[in-house]
Protein backbone atom coordinates (compact mmCIF):
# COMPACT_ATOMS: atom_id res chain seq x y z
CA UNK A 1 0.00 0.00 0.00
CA UNK A 2 1.27 3.36 -0.85
CA UNK A 3 1.13 5.82 1.98
CA UNK A 4 -0.98 8.92 1.69
CA UNK A 5 -2.17 11.85 3.71
CA UNK A 6 -5.66 11.04 4.95
CA UNK A 7 -8.54 13.37 4.35
CA UNK A 8 -8.88 13.93 8.11
CA UNK A 9 -5.29 15.14 8.34
CA UNK A 10 -5.79 17.27 5.32
CA UNK A 11 -8.96 18.80 6.68
CA UNK A 12 -7.43 19.48 10.06
CA UNK A 13 -4.43 21.22 8.53
CA UNK A 14 -6.54 23.39 6.28
CA UNK A 15 -8.95 24.31 9.05
CA UNK A 16 -6.09 25.21 11.34
CA UNK A 17 -4.56 27.38 8.65
CA UNK A 18 -7.88 29.12 7.98
CA UNK A 19 -8.25 29.84 11.66
CA UNK A 20 -4.71 31.15 11.94
CA UNK A 21 -5.05 33.46 8.97
CA UNK A 22 -8.42 34.80 10.05
CA UNK A 23 -7.16 35.22 13.57
CA UNK A 24 -4.26 37.33 12.40
CA UNK A 25 -5.81 39.18 9.49
CA UNK A 26 -9.49 39.25 10.32
CA UNK A 27 -11.08 42.54 9.35
CA UNK A 28 -8.36 43.63 6.93
CA UNK A 29 -10.20 42.48 3.87
CA UNK A 30 -8.46 39.16 3.74
CA UNK A 31 -10.78 36.21 3.39
CA UNK A 32 -9.51 32.72 4.02
CA UNK A 33 -11.67 29.73 3.24
CA UNK A 34 -11.28 26.01 3.07
CA UNK A 35 -12.15 24.77 -0.39
CA UNK A 36 -12.47 21.24 -1.66
CA UNK A 37 -11.11 20.04 -4.93
CA UNK A 38 -14.01 18.92 -7.05
CA UNK A 39 -12.38 15.77 -8.32
CA UNK A 40 -10.29 12.82 -7.23
CA UNK A 41 -9.94 12.59 -3.46
CA UNK A 42 -11.78 15.86 -2.95
CA UNK A 43 -8.95 17.10 -0.82
CA UNK A 44 -9.22 20.50 0.80
CA UNK A 45 -6.95 23.43 0.27
CA UNK A 46 -6.62 26.91 1.69
CA UNK A 47 -7.88 29.70 -0.50
CA UNK A 48 -7.17 33.29 0.44
CA UNK A 49 -8.47 36.36 -1.31
CA UNK A 50 -6.40 39.30 -0.30
CA UNK A 51 -6.33 42.95 -1.27
CA UNK A 52 -2.96 44.00 -2.69
CA UNK A 53 -2.22 46.26 0.30
CA UNK A 54 -2.09 43.37 2.71
CA UNK A 55 -0.21 41.01 0.49
CA UNK A 56 3.35 41.38 1.74
CA UNK A 57 2.30 40.99 5.36
CA UNK A 58 0.22 37.95 4.52
CA UNK A 59 3.08 36.44 2.57
CA UNK A 60 5.47 36.83 5.48
CA UNK A 61 2.90 35.33 7.80
CA UNK A 62 2.48 32.36 5.51
CA UNK A 63 6.16 31.81 5.10
CA UNK A 64 7.37 32.26 8.64
CA UNK A 65 4.36 31.37 10.78
CA UNK A 66 2.57 28.77 8.73
CA UNK A 67 5.73 27.26 7.25
CA UNK A 68 4.59 27.52 3.66
CA UNK A 69 8.00 27.06 2.13
CA UNK A 70 7.40 26.40 -1.54
CA UNK A 71 6.15 28.88 -4.09
CA UNK A 72 4.74 26.77 -6.82
CA UNK A 73 3.38 29.25 -9.29
CA UNK A 74 2.56 32.88 -9.87
CA UNK A 75 -0.03 33.63 -12.49
CA UNK A 76 -1.72 36.74 -13.73
CA UNK A 77 -4.99 37.07 -15.53
CA UNK A 78 -6.32 40.00 -17.48
CA UNK A 79 -10.05 40.76 -17.20
CA UNK A 80 -10.73 43.64 -19.56
CA UNK A 81 -14.48 43.08 -19.22
CA UNK A 82 -14.40 42.47 -15.49
CA UNK A 83 -15.52 44.60 -12.59
CA UNK A 84 -13.76 47.86 -11.85
CA UNK A 85 -11.88 46.53 -8.85
CA UNK A 86 -10.95 43.27 -10.61
CA UNK A 87 -9.45 44.20 -13.93
CA UNK A 88 -6.49 42.02 -13.21
CA UNK A 89 -5.94 39.14 -10.89
CA UNK A 90 -2.80 37.57 -9.61
CA UNK A 91 -3.06 33.96 -8.50
CA UNK A 92 -0.41 32.43 -6.31
CA UNK A 93 -0.08 28.75 -5.56
CA UNK A 94 1.97 27.70 -2.60
CA UNK A 95 2.70 24.44 -0.95
CA UNK A 96 3.87 23.55 2.48
CA UNK A 97 6.44 20.77 2.37
CA UNK A 98 7.81 19.10 5.46
CA UNK A 99 11.34 19.53 4.20
CA UNK A 100 14.45 19.93 6.30
CA UNK A 101 18.09 19.89 5.38
CA UNK A 102 19.58 16.51 6.06
CA UNK A 103 22.71 15.56 7.83
CA UNK A 104 25.14 13.49 5.87
CA UNK A 105 23.96 9.96 5.31
CA UNK A 106 20.57 10.56 6.87
CA UNK A 107 17.17 10.86 5.33
CA UNK A 108 13.66 11.67 6.51
CA UNK A 109 11.12 9.08 5.66
CA UNK A 110 7.89 10.73 6.56
CA UNK A 111 5.25 8.39 7.76
CA UNK A 112 2.23 10.15 6.37
CA UNK A 113 -0.12 8.86 9.03
CA UNK A 114 1.88 10.35 11.89
CA UNK A 115 2.34 13.83 10.50
CA UNK A 116 0.68 16.52 12.57
CA UNK A 117 0.41 20.26 12.79
CA UNK A 118 2.67 22.27 10.57
CA UNK A 119 4.19 19.10 9.15
CA UNK A 120 1.13 18.21 7.14
CA UNK A 121 1.49 19.20 3.50
CA UNK A 122 -0.78 22.09 2.67
CA UNK A 123 -1.95 23.57 -0.55
CA UNK A 124 -2.54 27.31 -0.67
CA UNK A 125 -4.19 29.31 -3.38
CA UNK A 126 -4.19 33.06 -3.16
CA UNK A 127 -6.06 35.49 -5.36
CA UNK A 128 -5.18 39.15 -5.40
CA UNK A 129 -7.60 41.20 -7.47
CA UNK A 130 -6.13 44.39 -8.89
CA UNK A 131 -8.02 47.43 -10.08
CA UNK A 132 -8.48 48.12 -13.75
CA UNK A 133 -5.82 50.19 -15.39
CA UNK A 134 -2.79 50.06 -17.57
CA UNK A 135 -0.24 49.31 -14.92
CA UNK A 136 -1.30 46.71 -12.39
CA UNK A 137 1.17 46.59 -9.53
CA UNK A 138 1.60 44.10 -6.74
CA UNK A 139 4.34 43.60 -4.19
CA UNK A 140 7.10 41.24 -5.11
CA UNK A 141 7.74 38.23 -2.91
CA UNK A 142 11.07 37.51 -4.50
CA UNK A 143 12.84 38.10 -1.21
CA UNK A 144 10.65 35.63 0.67
CA UNK A 145 10.56 32.76 -1.81
CA UNK A 146 13.44 32.51 -4.23
CA UNK A 147 11.21 30.34 -6.36
CA UNK A 148 8.91 33.29 -6.98
CA UNK A 149 11.71 35.13 -8.74
CA UNK A 150 11.41 33.60 -12.17
CA UNK A 151 7.68 33.06 -11.79
CA UNK A 152 7.25 36.80 -11.35
CA UNK A 153 9.51 37.46 -14.29
CA UNK A 154 7.36 35.21 -16.40
CA UNK A 155 4.13 36.80 -15.17
CA UNK A 156 5.41 40.26 -16.02
CA UNK A 157 6.72 39.06 -19.33
CA UNK A 158 3.55 37.35 -20.46
CA UNK A 159 0.76 39.15 -18.62
CA UNK A 160 2.28 42.51 -17.81
CA UNK A 161 1.74 42.68 -14.08
CA UNK A 162 4.46 44.67 -12.41
CA UNK A 163 6.04 43.43 -9.23
CA UNK A 164 7.10 46.23 -6.96
CA UNK A 165 10.51 45.62 -5.50
CA UNK A 166 11.53 42.89 -7.88
CA UNK A 167 15.21 43.08 -8.66
CA UNK A 168 16.50 42.22 -12.09
CA UNK A 169 13.17 42.11 -13.88
CA UNK A 170 13.61 40.98 -17.46
CA UNK A 171 12.01 39.17 -20.33
CA UNK A 172 12.35 35.43 -19.97
CA UNK A 173 10.18 33.80 -22.61
CA UNK A 174 9.59 36.61 -25.07
CA UNK A 175 12.51 37.96 -27.06
CA UNK A 176 14.60 40.41 -25.09
CA UNK A 177 13.93 43.16 -27.61
CA UNK A 178 10.14 42.90 -27.42
CA UNK A 179 8.60 46.38 -27.37
CA UNK A 180 7.84 47.85 -24.01
CA UNK A 181 4.31 47.15 -22.93
CA UNK A 182 3.92 44.09 -25.12
CA UNK A 183 2.56 41.25 -23.03
CA UNK A 184 1.03 38.54 -25.18
CA UNK A 185 -1.34 37.02 -22.65
CA UNK A 186 -3.30 40.24 -22.25
CA UNK A 187 -6.68 39.84 -23.78
CA UNK A 188 -6.44 42.56 -26.40
CA UNK A 189 -3.98 40.39 -28.28
CA UNK A 190 -5.97 37.96 -30.32
CA UNK A 191 -4.49 34.78 -31.68
CA UNK A 192 -3.61 35.32 -35.26
CA UNK A 193 -5.33 32.74 -37.30
CA UNK A 194 -3.96 31.79 -40.66
CA UNK A 195 -7.18 31.01 -42.37
CA UNK A 196 -7.64 28.58 -45.14
CA UNK A 197 -6.98 30.91 -48.01
CA UNK A 198 -4.02 32.65 -46.52
CA UNK A 199 -2.49 29.31 -45.81
CA UNK A 200 -2.99 27.94 -49.26
CA UNK A 201 -2.05 31.00 -51.24
CA UNK A 202 1.25 31.40 -49.56
CA UNK A 203 2.10 28.18 -47.90
CA UNK A 204 5.68 28.95 -47.20
CA UNK A 205 4.76 32.31 -45.74
CA UNK A 206 7.26 34.17 -47.85
CA UNK A 207 4.91 36.98 -48.62
CA UNK A 208 3.73 37.41 -45.09
CA UNK A 209 7.01 37.97 -43.48
CA UNK A 210 8.02 41.42 -44.76
CA UNK A 211 4.73 42.97 -43.81
CA UNK A 212 4.84 41.38 -40.43
CA UNK A 213 8.28 42.46 -39.45
CA UNK A 214 8.22 45.15 -36.84
CA UNK A 215 4.52 44.77 -36.28
CA UNK A 216 3.02 43.32 -33.21
CA UNK A 217 -0.45 42.03 -33.69
Amino acid sequence: MGMAITSAQNKAAVDAAVAAVMDRFGGTGIEATSVEHSTGKHASFLRIISPPRQWLGLAKFLRFDLGVNHCSMVTGTHFPDGAEERGWEVAYHFMRMPVKNQASGACVEHDAATLTGLEIPLEVEIFIPLAKGDSPVVDSIQSIWVGADWNEKETWDLVGIEFKGHKDMMRVLNPHDSPLGFHPLQKQHKLRYHDYNEMYDDAQGFERKPTDSGLVK
Partner: protein, 372 residues
Protein backbone atom coordinates in the same frame (compact mmCIF):
# COMPACT_ATOMS: atom_id res chain seq x y z
CA UNK B 1 27.14 27.75 -23.96
CA UNK B 2 24.21 27.43 -26.27
CA UNK B 3 21.71 27.76 -27.77
CA UNK B 4 23.13 24.93 -29.84
CA UNK B 5 25.29 23.04 -27.43
CA UNK B 6 25.42 19.41 -26.31
CA UNK B 7 25.10 20.41 -22.68
CA UNK B 8 21.77 22.18 -23.02
CA UNK B 9 19.60 19.13 -23.76
CA UNK B 10 17.41 21.46 -25.74
CA UNK B 11 17.63 25.00 -26.85
CA UNK B 12 18.75 27.59 -24.36
CA UNK B 13 21.81 29.53 -23.49
CA UNK B 14 23.90 29.43 -20.40
CA UNK B 15 26.25 32.36 -20.19
CA UNK B 16 29.28 31.20 -18.30
CA UNK B 17 32.07 33.32 -16.98
CA UNK B 18 35.14 31.26 -16.38
CA UNK B 19 38.45 31.74 -14.68
CA UNK B 20 40.64 29.18 -16.38
CA UNK B 21 38.63 26.04 -15.96
CA UNK B 22 36.62 27.23 -12.97
CA UNK B 23 33.12 28.62 -13.35
CA UNK B 24 32.82 32.05 -11.78
CA UNK B 25 29.40 33.23 -12.83
CA UNK B 26 26.47 31.91 -14.82
CA UNK B 27 23.32 33.32 -16.29
CA UNK B 28 20.64 31.29 -18.03
CA UNK B 29 18.73 32.61 -20.98
CA UNK B 30 15.49 30.90 -21.93
CA UNK B 31 12.69 31.33 -24.39
CA UNK B 32 14.16 29.97 -27.57
CA UNK B 33 11.31 27.59 -28.17
CA UNK B 34 8.50 29.56 -26.57
CA UNK B 35 5.45 28.51 -28.53
CA UNK B 36 2.77 30.31 -26.61
CA UNK B 37 0.89 27.19 -25.57
CA UNK B 38 -1.02 29.11 -22.91
CA UNK B 39 -2.34 31.54 -25.48
CA UNK B 40 -3.16 28.82 -27.97
CA UNK B 41 -5.12 26.94 -25.33
CA UNK B 42 -7.38 29.95 -24.83
CA UNK B 43 -8.92 29.27 -28.22
CA UNK B 44 -9.22 25.51 -28.02
CA UNK B 45 -11.87 23.52 -26.27
CA UNK B 46 -11.06 21.28 -23.35
CA UNK B 47 -10.49 18.13 -25.38
CA UNK B 48 -8.47 19.86 -28.05
CA UNK B 49 -5.98 21.10 -25.48
CA UNK B 50 -4.87 17.58 -24.60
CA UNK B 51 -2.64 17.04 -27.67
CA UNK B 52 -1.04 20.43 -27.05
CA UNK B 53 -0.19 19.41 -23.52
CA UNK B 54 1.42 16.28 -24.90
CA UNK B 55 3.77 18.51 -26.80
CA UNK B 56 4.92 20.43 -23.76
CA UNK B 57 7.64 17.91 -23.19
CA UNK B 58 8.66 15.44 -25.81
CA UNK B 59 10.29 13.14 -23.27
CA UNK B 60 7.34 13.00 -20.92
CA UNK B 61 4.21 13.58 -22.97
CA UNK B 62 1.94 11.27 -21.05
CA UNK B 63 2.46 12.92 -17.68
CA UNK B 64 1.79 16.39 -19.03
CA UNK B 65 -1.46 15.38 -20.67
CA UNK B 66 -2.52 13.76 -17.40
CA UNK B 67 -1.49 16.79 -15.43
CA UNK B 68 -3.81 18.88 -17.59
CA UNK B 69 -6.64 16.38 -17.37
CA UNK B 70 -6.63 16.33 -13.59
CA UNK B 71 -6.80 20.12 -13.53
CA UNK B 72 -9.60 20.28 -16.04
CA UNK B 73 -11.54 17.69 -14.07
CA UNK B 74 -11.17 19.95 -11.07
CA UNK B 75 -12.53 22.79 -13.17
CA UNK B 76 -15.41 20.84 -14.65
CA UNK B 77 -16.20 18.96 -11.44
CA UNK B 78 -15.91 15.47 -12.83
CA UNK B 79 -15.11 12.27 -11.00
CA UNK B 80 -13.04 9.78 -12.93
CA UNK B 81 -14.06 6.08 -12.97
CA UNK B 82 -11.76 3.90 -10.94
CA UNK B 83 -10.66 1.70 -13.78
CA UNK B 84 -9.66 4.78 -15.71
CA UNK B 85 -7.62 5.93 -12.73
CA UNK B 86 -5.75 2.64 -12.72
CA UNK B 87 -5.03 2.78 -16.42
CA UNK B 88 -3.90 6.37 -16.00
CA UNK B 89 -1.56 5.33 -13.23
CA UNK B 90 -0.08 2.61 -15.41
CA UNK B 91 0.37 5.01 -18.30
CA UNK B 92 1.92 7.74 -16.20
CA UNK B 93 4.34 5.44 -14.45
CA UNK B 94 5.42 3.95 -17.77
CA UNK B 95 6.06 7.43 -19.00
CA UNK B 96 8.06 8.13 -15.88
CA UNK B 97 10.27 5.15 -16.58
CA UNK B 98 10.67 6.17 -20.21
CA UNK B 99 11.47 9.72 -19.20
CA UNK B 100 14.03 8.66 -16.62
CA UNK B 101 15.59 6.34 -19.17
CA UNK B 102 15.80 9.22 -21.58
CA UNK B 103 17.41 11.23 -18.81
CA UNK B 104 19.94 8.53 -18.05
CA UNK B 105 20.64 8.14 -21.72
CA UNK B 106 21.28 11.84 -22.04
CA UNK B 107 23.23 12.09 -18.84
CA UNK B 108 25.90 9.48 -19.41
CA UNK B 109 27.15 11.07 -22.64
CA UNK B 110 27.45 14.22 -20.56
CA UNK B 111 30.03 12.46 -18.48
CA UNK B 112 31.46 10.73 -21.51
CA UNK B 113 29.99 7.27 -21.85
CA UNK B 114 27.98 6.61 -24.96
CA UNK B 115 27.26 2.97 -24.16
CA UNK B 116 24.59 3.62 -21.60
CA UNK B 117 22.93 6.04 -23.98
CA UNK B 118 22.43 3.28 -26.49
CA UNK B 119 21.31 0.83 -23.85
CA UNK B 120 18.81 3.28 -22.42
CA UNK B 121 17.24 4.04 -25.74
CA UNK B 122 17.04 0.31 -26.36
CA UNK B 123 15.06 -0.20 -23.17
CA UNK B 124 13.03 2.97 -23.52
CA UNK B 125 11.78 1.49 -26.75
CA UNK B 126 9.99 -1.23 -24.80
CA UNK B 127 8.00 1.31 -22.85
CA UNK B 128 7.36 3.53 -25.83
CA UNK B 129 5.92 0.49 -27.55
CA UNK B 130 3.65 -0.21 -24.62
CA UNK B 131 2.43 3.36 -24.59
CA UNK B 132 1.97 3.26 -28.32
CA UNK B 133 -0.44 0.42 -27.76
CA UNK B 134 -2.40 2.68 -25.45
CA UNK B 135 -2.26 5.96 -27.30
CA UNK B 136 -1.68 4.95 -30.88
CA UNK B 137 1.41 7.09 -31.38
CA UNK B 138 4.98 6.72 -30.40
CA UNK B 139 5.65 9.95 -28.54
CA UNK B 140 2.60 12.17 -28.36
CA UNK B 141 -0.09 9.81 -27.25
CA UNK B 142 -3.11 12.04 -26.71
CA UNK B 143 -4.22 9.30 -24.35
CA UNK B 144 -6.13 10.78 -21.42
CA UNK B 145 -9.35 12.69 -21.84
CA UNK B 146 -11.07 14.98 -19.40
CA UNK B 147 -13.07 12.50 -17.40
CA UNK B 148 -11.19 9.36 -18.24
CA UNK B 149 -9.13 7.78 -20.96
CA UNK B 150 -9.37 7.48 -24.69
CA UNK B 151 -9.38 3.72 -24.82
CA UNK B 152 -8.93 0.82 -22.51
CA UNK B 153 -5.83 -1.33 -22.29
CA UNK B 154 -5.76 -3.55 -25.38
CA UNK B 155 -5.81 -7.38 -25.25
CA UNK B 156 -2.44 -8.86 -24.43
CA UNK B 157 -1.15 -5.59 -23.02
CA UNK B 158 -0.85 -6.88 -19.49
CA UNK B 159 1.19 -9.88 -20.63
CA UNK B 160 3.54 -7.75 -22.59
CA UNK B 161 3.88 -5.18 -19.86
CA UNK B 162 4.77 -7.85 -17.32
CA UNK B 163 7.31 -9.47 -19.65
CA UNK B 164 8.93 -6.18 -20.49
CA UNK B 165 9.11 -5.04 -16.92
CA UNK B 166 10.64 -8.34 -15.85
CA UNK B 167 13.30 -7.88 -18.48
CA UNK B 168 13.82 -4.26 -17.58
CA UNK B 169 14.33 -5.00 -13.90
CA UNK B 170 17.16 -7.32 -14.89
CA UNK B 171 18.57 -4.67 -17.15
CA UNK B 172 18.63 -2.20 -14.28
CA UNK B 173 21.29 -4.38 -12.69
CA UNK B 174 23.39 -4.03 -15.80
CA UNK B 175 23.17 -0.26 -15.66
CA UNK B 176 24.21 -0.33 -12.05
CA UNK B 177 27.11 -2.59 -12.89
CA UNK B 178 28.32 -0.25 -15.57
CA UNK B 179 27.77 2.99 -13.65
CA UNK B 180 27.65 2.46 -9.91
CA UNK B 181 30.61 0.17 -10.06
CA UNK B 182 32.67 2.26 -12.37
CA UNK B 183 35.24 4.35 -10.58
CA UNK B 184 35.35 6.99 -13.24
CA UNK B 185 31.60 7.52 -13.14
CA UNK B 186 31.74 7.82 -9.37
CA UNK B 187 34.52 10.38 -9.34
CA UNK B 188 32.73 12.40 -12.00
CA UNK B 189 29.42 12.51 -10.14
CA UNK B 190 30.23 12.29 -6.45
CA UNK B 191 30.99 15.49 -4.66
CA UNK B 192 29.84 17.58 -7.57
CA UNK B 193 26.87 19.93 -7.69
CA UNK B 194 25.75 20.02 -4.08
CA UNK B 195 22.23 21.29 -3.46
CA UNK B 196 20.51 21.48 -0.08
CA UNK B 197 16.94 20.42 0.45
CA UNK B 198 15.59 23.62 2.03
CA UNK B 199 17.30 25.83 -0.49
CA UNK B 200 15.90 23.76 -3.30
CA UNK B 201 12.36 23.91 -1.96
CA UNK B 202 12.60 27.62 -1.41
CA UNK B 203 13.87 28.05 -4.94
CA UNK B 204 11.02 25.97 -6.28
CA UNK B 205 12.93 22.82 -7.16
CA UNK B 206 10.82 19.71 -6.64
CA UNK B 207 10.54 16.06 -7.45
CA UNK B 208 13.47 13.67 -7.66
CA UNK B 209 15.91 16.52 -7.21
CA UNK B 210 14.61 17.27 -3.72
CA UNK B 211 14.21 13.63 -2.82
CA UNK B 212 17.86 13.14 -3.65
CA UNK B 213 18.67 15.43 -0.73
CA UNK B 214 17.22 13.00 1.75
CA UNK B 215 13.68 14.28 2.07
CA UNK B 216 10.80 12.00 1.35
CA UNK B 217 8.51 14.50 -0.26
CA UNK B 218 6.35 13.47 -3.14
CA UNK B 219 3.12 15.02 -4.41
CA UNK B 220 1.82 11.52 -4.93
CA UNK B 221 1.44 10.98 -1.21
CA UNK B 222 1.41 14.53 0.10
CA UNK B 223 -1.52 15.65 -2.02
CA UNK B 224 -2.96 12.29 -2.95
CA UNK B 225 -4.63 11.90 -6.29
CA UNK B 226 -5.38 8.98 -8.57
CA UNK B 227 -5.04 5.58 -6.85
CA UNK B 228 -1.52 5.90 -5.54
CA UNK B 229 -2.75 5.02 -2.07
CA UNK B 230 -4.03 1.67 -3.31
CA UNK B 231 -0.99 0.31 -5.10
CA UNK B 232 2.22 -0.88 -3.58
CA UNK B 233 5.02 1.64 -3.67
CA UNK B 234 7.27 3.79 -1.56
CA UNK B 235 8.62 7.03 -2.77
CA UNK B 236 12.30 6.80 -3.46
CA UNK B 237 14.68 8.82 -1.36
CA UNK B 238 18.43 8.98 -1.36
CA UNK B 239 20.58 9.67 1.64
CA UNK B 240 22.65 12.73 0.81
CA UNK B 241 26.35 12.19 1.01
CA UNK B 242 27.16 15.41 2.76
CA UNK B 243 25.67 18.20 4.81
CA UNK B 244 26.12 20.27 1.71
CA UNK B 245 23.18 18.42 0.22
CA UNK B 246 22.68 16.11 -2.68
CA UNK B 247 25.30 15.66 -5.35
CA UNK B 248 24.91 14.43 -8.90
CA UNK B 249 25.31 10.84 -7.80
CA UNK B 250 22.42 11.14 -5.36
CA UNK B 251 20.20 12.48 -8.09
CA UNK B 252 21.26 9.63 -10.32
CA UNK B 253 20.46 7.08 -7.63
CA UNK B 254 17.07 8.53 -6.79
CA UNK B 255 15.97 8.23 -10.40
CA UNK B 256 17.21 4.68 -10.60
CA UNK B 257 15.18 3.66 -7.55
CA UNK B 258 12.23 5.61 -8.85
CA UNK B 259 12.25 3.52 -11.98
CA UNK B 260 12.16 0.38 -9.88
CA UNK B 261 9.29 1.76 -7.84
CA UNK B 262 7.39 2.60 -10.99
CA UNK B 263 7.85 -0.95 -12.21
CA UNK B 264 6.46 -2.22 -8.93
CA UNK B 265 3.51 0.12 -9.20
CA UNK B 266 2.65 -0.96 -12.72
CA UNK B 267 2.77 -4.65 -11.86
CA UNK B 268 0.65 -4.07 -8.80
CA UNK B 269 -1.84 -1.91 -10.65
CA UNK B 270 -2.20 -4.56 -13.34
CA UNK B 271 -3.08 -7.05 -10.63
CA UNK B 272 -5.51 -4.82 -8.81
CA UNK B 273 -7.23 -3.09 -11.68
CA UNK B 274 -11.02 -3.33 -11.27
CA UNK B 275 -12.49 -5.39 -14.06
CA UNK B 276 -9.28 -7.29 -14.56
CA UNK B 277 -6.34 -6.58 -16.81
CA UNK B 278 -7.53 -8.99 -19.49
CA UNK B 279 -10.84 -7.37 -20.24
CA UNK B 280 -11.06 -4.52 -22.68
CA UNK B 281 -13.91 -2.07 -22.56
CA UNK B 282 -15.10 -0.23 -25.61
CA UNK B 283 -14.00 3.34 -26.02
CA UNK B 284 -16.51 5.64 -24.43
CA UNK B 285 -17.67 3.02 -21.94
CA UNK B 286 -18.69 4.59 -18.67
CA UNK B 287 -16.18 2.36 -16.88
CA UNK B 288 -13.32 4.21 -18.49
CA UNK B 289 -14.66 7.68 -19.19
CA UNK B 290 -17.15 9.79 -17.32
CA UNK B 291 -19.63 12.22 -18.77
CA UNK B 292 -18.04 15.61 -18.95
CA UNK B 293 -19.73 18.95 -19.42
CA UNK B 294 -18.26 20.80 -22.35
CA UNK B 295 -18.49 24.25 -20.79
CA UNK B 296 -17.06 25.74 -17.65
CA UNK B 297 -18.84 28.65 -16.00
CA UNK B 298 -17.21 32.01 -15.57
CA UNK B 299 -15.40 32.37 -12.29
CA UNK B 300 -14.74 28.66 -11.90
CA UNK B 301 -11.12 27.74 -11.36
CA UNK B 302 -9.34 24.45 -11.29
CA UNK B 303 -5.82 23.50 -10.47
CA UNK B 304 -3.99 20.34 -9.69
CA UNK B 305 -0.52 19.62 -8.40
CA UNK B 306 0.91 16.64 -10.21
CA UNK B 307 4.09 14.66 -9.79
CA UNK B 308 5.70 14.90 -13.19
CA UNK B 309 8.86 12.98 -14.06
CA UNK B 310 10.87 16.10 -13.33
CA UNK B 311 9.07 17.49 -10.35
CA UNK B 312 5.78 19.08 -9.47
CA UNK B 313 3.86 20.22 -12.51
CA UNK B 314 0.63 22.14 -12.27
CA UNK B 315 -2.12 23.48 -14.45
CA UNK B 316 -4.25 26.37 -13.35
CA UNK B 317 -7.40 26.88 -15.38
CA UNK B 318 -10.07 29.52 -15.36
CA UNK B 319 -13.44 28.82 -16.90
CA UNK B 320 -15.67 31.12 -18.88
CA UNK B 321 -13.65 31.82 -21.96
CA UNK B 322 -14.85 32.30 -25.48
CA UNK B 323 -17.85 30.36 -26.72
CA UNK B 324 -19.79 30.73 -23.45
CA UNK B 325 -17.20 28.85 -21.49
CA UNK B 326 -16.37 26.30 -24.13
CA UNK B 327 -12.79 27.45 -24.09
CA UNK B 328 -10.85 28.14 -20.92
CA UNK B 329 -10.39 31.81 -20.11
CA UNK B 330 -6.85 31.36 -18.94
CA UNK B 331 -4.54 28.37 -18.88
CA UNK B 332 -1.44 28.64 -16.81
CA UNK B 333 1.25 26.02 -16.69
CA UNK B 334 3.73 25.42 -13.94
CA UNK B 335 6.79 23.80 -15.35
CA UNK B 336 9.19 22.26 -12.86
CA UNK B 337 12.24 22.91 -14.99
CA UNK B 338 11.48 26.57 -15.58
CA UNK B 339 12.13 27.22 -11.92
CA UNK B 340 14.93 24.71 -11.62
CA UNK B 341 17.19 25.95 -14.37
CA UNK B 342 18.02 29.32 -12.73
CA UNK B 343 18.69 27.47 -9.49
CA UNK B 344 21.01 24.99 -11.18
CA UNK B 345 22.83 27.79 -12.91
CA UNK B 346 23.73 29.18 -9.51
CA UNK B 347 24.63 25.75 -8.19
CA UNK B 348 27.31 25.40 -10.81
CA UNK B 349 29.40 28.32 -9.63
CA UNK B 350 32.72 27.18 -8.26
CA UNK B 351 32.98 23.94 -10.16
CA UNK B 352 34.94 23.15 -13.28
CA UNK B 353 33.77 23.61 -16.84
CA UNK B 354 33.69 19.85 -17.21
CA UNK B 355 31.20 19.73 -14.35
CA UNK B 356 28.68 21.97 -16.08
CA UNK B 357 27.15 19.19 -18.16
CA UNK B 358 27.42 16.79 -15.25
CA UNK B 359 25.51 19.10 -12.91
CA UNK B 360 23.04 20.44 -15.44
CA UNK B 361 22.30 16.99 -16.75
CA UNK B 362 21.72 15.58 -13.29
CA UNK B 363 18.74 17.91 -12.80
CA UNK B 364 17.12 16.55 -15.95
CA UNK B 365 16.34 19.70 -17.91
CA UNK B 366 13.62 19.62 -20.54
CA UNK B 367 13.32 22.78 -22.57
CA UNK B 368 10.02 21.95 -24.20
CA UNK B 369 8.17 22.42 -20.97
CA UNK B 370 10.45 25.19 -19.74
CA UNK B 371 9.71 27.50 -22.62
CA UNK B 372 6.14 26.31 -23.22
Amino acid sequence: MGPQHPMTHGLWTLRVKVDGETVVDTEPELGYIHRGVEKICESRDFTQIVPYCDRLCYASAMTWAHSYCYAVEDLLEVDVPERAEYVRLIAVEMQRIASHLMWLGAYTPDVGNLTVFVWCLRDREMFLDLMQELGGSRMHYNFPRPGGIKRDIPPGFANRARAKIALFLERMKEYEMLLDESTIFLVRTQGVGYAKAEEMVNAGVTGPNVRAAGVNYDVRWAHPYSVYDEVDWTSSVEKPSSVKGADCYDRYRVRMTEMEESCRMIIDALDKIPGGSDTTYQSGDEKIIAKVPSRAPEGATGHHHFEDSRGESMFYLQGGGEGRGKYPYRVSIRSPMFITIPFVAETMIGYKIADIPAIMGSFDPCIGETDR
